[in-house]
């Protein structure tokens, strides 16, 4: 195998593949990047058995072939190379000679045959979406997933394609995530050719990787392909594949409150900052924070015996009766406020112990439902 390419191109490719490479794997082979030199250039692959990825790098191939190179060492080398042409050549003895200008490295390589092959989806349903939109949808939902393997199907984000059957919604792409105590749902209208009907639970870990890889990319469409047990993403010549989570996602429609009695509109930043301050105290009391609507303001109260207490008062626009007094885990509130971009945010309360609903005042169909904490007397 022999090829040469520009250092910059190579560096981008290696850095991207490195994100997928398993770091502390019990399978040492997964710490490598697979290089395949073919007619049109070279292909880099990484696989951590959770997510697999493949991407192309422009190169002049003199001799076809493939090898495995240790990701860590390689990226250390490549990032420090001068901006010049770099040549890779596999020697008889299995080492790879990496030469540039007058100098060279010699790296031990491994034969590629033991590297797990990347799956390809055969008969999948496909759609395309603006990567920026896709990523913003992921970011607004993924924080609500469960971190516990015991609740396996909740460790992923439900992605649905198809018309929404919730009245008033116009979206046809939805992402939903929940950990059993709160639920985040984001909808978006996209151009989906052939109206595919898709419902798939994507492991949060795969989406986290995808977000890292796609961050800042917006030139082209992101192509998504879904089969019964796998999902793949293609952006330019980056290809990523992940298994799907099998199982029944809870029926989220059933938990969306039909009506609310009081709606409070607040400045998102003010609300977030107040909530963060209240959290300092609340964290000593299981994050329990009381929410009270009084006049034209929302009061957040928390107290921890032997530590102290806090009352945060936030200016608000209040619609509906004022007699709201309910407690929430303040961390579940700060989570969502950090993910909302809209300047103003609305929080809706229902009767008694019904869930709180948080929505941005503008921009996208976004909904966050949070279950209250029942307390002896408000706080």
């Amino acid at each position: 195998m022999e090829f040469s390419c520009e250092k910059r191109e190579l560096q981008i490719g290696v850095a991207t593949a490195e994100k997928i490479v398993a770091t502390r794997s019990t399978l040492p082979i997964l710490g490598n990047i697979l290089f395949e030199a073919g007619k049109g250039g070279i292909k880099l692959s990484a696989n951590n058995l959770e997510v697999g990825m493949e991407l192309g790098v422009k190169a002049n191939v003199n001799k076809e072939g493939s090898i495995l190179l240790p990701a860590k060492t390689l990226s250390g080398i490549v990032s420090k190379l001068p901006e010049t042409k770099v040549t890779f050549k596999l020697n008889e003895n299995g080492t790879v000679r990496i030469s540039y200008d007058q100098s060279h490295f010699s790296l031990h390589s491994l034969p590629p045959d033991e590297f797990p092959a990347l799956g390809k989806i055969k008969d999948g349903k496909t759609f395309s979406v603006d990567p920026e939109i896709f990523i913003s949808m992921v970011k607004q939902t993924i924080f609500a997933v469960s971190n516990s393997e015991d609740k396996y199907m909740l460790t992923g984000v439900l992605m649905e394609v198809g018309k929404s059957n919730i009245p008033g919604e116009t979206n046809n792409l939805r992402m939903v995530a929940t950990d059993g105590y709160r639920l985040a749902k984001r909808g978006e209208k996209i151009e989906a050719k052939g109206d595919p009907a898709i419902s798939a639970i994507i492991p949060a870990k795969a989406l986290t990787e995808l977000v890292k890889i796609l961050e800042g990319k917006k030139k082209e469409e992101l192509k998504v392909c879904v089969s019964a047990d796998q999902i793949s993403f293609r952006y330019e010549d980056i290809y990523m594949i992940s298994r799907l989570i099998q199982g029944q996602f809870p029926d989220y429609k059933q938990v969306i409150p039909k009506k609310s009695s009081t709606r409070v509109t607040l400045d998102t930043r003010d609300f977030l900052r107040s909530a963060e301050r209240a959290a300092v105290i609340a964290s000593g009391s299981a994050n329990v924070t009381s929410f009270e609507v009084k006049g034209e303001s929302l009061h957040l109260t928390a107290n921890t015996p032997d530590v102290g207490s806090v009352v945060e008062i936030i200016k608000a626009e209040v619609k509906g009766p004022e007699r709201v007094r309910i407690s929430f885990n303040i961390r579940l509130i700060t989570d969502v406020l950090g993910a909302i971009n809209s300047e103003k945010v609305m929080i809706e309360f229902g009767e008694g112990l019904s869930p709180g609903v948080i929505k941005p005042e503008s921009g996208g169909e976004y909904l966050y439902i949070v279950m209250p904490i029942r307390t002896q007397e408000g706080v």
Binding site: L27, V255, E276, I281, S283
Partner: protein, 552 residues
């Protein structure tokens, strides 16, 4: 006229049989009587108990029945209709064979055997168990424990004999009701409930000397202990730790090492290959070729985990060449970059006109690094500290629970969707026993059917844990640790359990902010240096210690 089938065994045979303690507790009586009914070919067995079997155990069946003469002789020691010679002993097809059960039960209770008026089957009744052996009686556990044992026995037979309908009624309340359809999965459903049953896959595999079949859990369904690993050899419920080991080996790397699968597995094997007579209650067996049987279990389980509807499960997908390398690592068992929930950093604030904050806590330690996703390396500029994240969080939560109990009651984090929790009888009894206090800690559990509960809320401190697993783990551990009579101790133990199972675990990735928070919270507790179980939450390296270590 029915011929007399029962005869007294010859002396040499009697000696071959391990004599032993047949009746240990009410559940042993239930076991013997149910076995007799099954040996009699019953398709319907009703077990009624009063006061956990201490007052009454009554088993009626629709089996072959007994003549008056047989009833009489059956009470004699070593009278059995089931074997006649030593050769028979090595080819046992029935559950009973010693001719010992009925006389033993009769000697410690007021026993009565009656032919059913309907004409088929008999009803055997044992009243006032241990009335004449007060020492025995004293050793009996709380009623709920004894009912639990009885429930377990009946469950095991309901599983082993799916074609027989079992009913267990305790003080008039139905606890188990298996339909007797002949389908194993129906029996499992009756014993474990729908929820667990849905997480099972079928096993069915032959090996040289026999067959392994039954149901096992997908790797996503696990339990905290081995209580859900059930084995039957030739339909006899047995305990054999080698079988447990074989089963667990098949799951190795598929599930965390401290969790156990659920399994209802039957091994059908040439009776000459097993010795059932190694334990007085026939609970243990010895295999002639142990390794062969273990391997059969292992490979049968593996096969079902690999193919079947499992194939679509967690390990499907990317690992196409897994097999080729003989690698057993599943997809999601591998470490991967953990993702973090977005935690906006605490930003400086300056305009809070009417807000008031009073804080008295200081932050003594600054976290530097999370070591092995388990320990927080921290320093206060003077000393170096290693904090065990789980122990520290456990302390925090325990204190919060204790404080909540004292001050303003516990917050209860309500669930988005209430969960149904199906329990086996022994678990339901444990839960019943602790229900009131669990609910006062913030759980909202309500009985729903005989062995099912609805869970609507968990303690506010537990809102990072999956609700249902939390309660199942707590029940499992309660079953193991037994119970304390003293209410105070009992409640303290429960708080410890809730704290332990709600706390972050080793391996949970923490952000810098979360580490900071943890340390801050730890220092607001009564006893920041130890966890509620008394283990240290941190190790400190003083400057003096460093000087000494470096030999300066």
């Amino acid at each position: 006229m029915v011929p007399v089938k029962i005869q007294v065994l010859p002396e040499d045979l009697i000696n071959k049989i391990a004599a032993g303690e047949v009746v240990e507790r009410p559940a042993s009586v239930v076991k013997e009587l149910v076995e007799n009914s099954l040996d009699a070919g019953a398709t319907q067995i009703i077990v009624e108990i009063q006061e956990a079997g201490k007052k009454l155990i009554r088993v009626s069946d629709n089996g072959c029945g007994m003549s008056e003469a047989e009833i009489e002789i059956s009470l004699e020691r070593h009278s059995t209709s089931k074997i006649a010679s030593v050769d028979d002993l090595f080819n046992i097809q029935t559950l009973g064979f010693r001719g010992e059960a009925l006389p033993s039960i009769a000697s410690v209770s007021k026993m009565k055997i009656e032919r059913n008026p309907s004409g088929s089957g008999v009803t055997v009744e044992a009243k006032n168990l241990f009335y004449n052996t007060p020492a025995r009686k004293k050793f009996l556990k709380a009623d709920s424990t004894e009912v639990g044992h009885i429930g377990e026995i009946v469950s095991k037979y309901a599983l082993a004999y799916p074609q027989t309908a079992f009913r267990l009624i305790s003080d008039g309340k139905p606890l188990i009701n298996s339909p007797g359809t002949g389908k194993l999965i129906d029996a499992i459903l009756a014993v474990y409930g729908t929820d667990l049953s849905r997480g099972l896959v079928e096993v069915n595999n032959e090996f040289a000397a026999g067959k392994v079949y039954g149901f096992i859990s997908r790797p996503t369904v696990t339990r905290i202990d081995k209580n859900y690993e059930t084995f039957f050899v030739n339909r006899r419920y047995i305990k054999n730790f080698l079988l447990n080991r074989a089963l667990e080996e098949a799951y190795r790397t598929l599930i965390p090492s401290n969790r156990y699968p659920v399994a209802v597995l039957f091994i059908e094997i040439d009776p000459r290959q097993v010795d059932v007579n190694v334990h007085p209650a026939k609970r243990e067996v010895k295999f002639l070729k142990t390794n062969e049987v273990m391997e059969a279990v292992r490979s049968a389980v593996r096969k079902s985990l690999e193919v079947g509807d499992m194939g679509k499960g967690r390990e499907a997908g990317l690992v196409e060449s897994n097999k080729r390398w003989g690698i057993e690592q599943p997809v999601d068992q591998l470490p991967m970059t953990s993702f973090q929930t977005s935690n906006p950093t605490f930003t400086q604030y300056n305009n809070y006109p009417e807000a008031e904050i009073e804080v008295t806590a200081i932050q003594p330690l600054i976290p530097l690094y999370q070591l092995k996703l388990t320990y927080i390396v921290a320093t206060d500029g003077e000393e170096l500290a290693l904090i065990d994240q789980h122990a520290a969080h456990e302390r925090i939560l325990y204190d919060q629970l204790t404080q909540g109990a004292r001050v303003n009651g516990q917050g209860a984090q309500t669930l988005l969707v209430p969960e149904t929790i199906d329990l086996v009888t022994s678990e339901a009894e444990i839960l019943k026993d602790n229900l009131e206090y669990l609910n006062s800690l913030g759980f909202d559990l309500e009985l729903f059917g005989s062995n099912s509960y609805i869970l609507r809320a968990v303690p506010a401190v537990s809102s990072k844990s999956p609700a249902k697993q939390l309660i199942l783990d707590i029940i499992a551990e309660l079953g193991e640790t037994g119970k304390s009579v003293q209410l105070e101790v009992k409640q303290e133990n429960l708080r410890k359990l809730v704290a332990c199972h709600s706390a972050i675990k080793a391996g949970d990735k923490l952000t810098a902010q979360e580490m900071n928070q943890l340390i801050r919270d730890l220092y607001t507790t009564q006893n920041p240096l130890t966890c509620p179980h008394g283990r240290p939450t941190m190790i400190r390296l003083t400057e003096a210690e460093l000087l000494k270590r470096f030999g300066r």
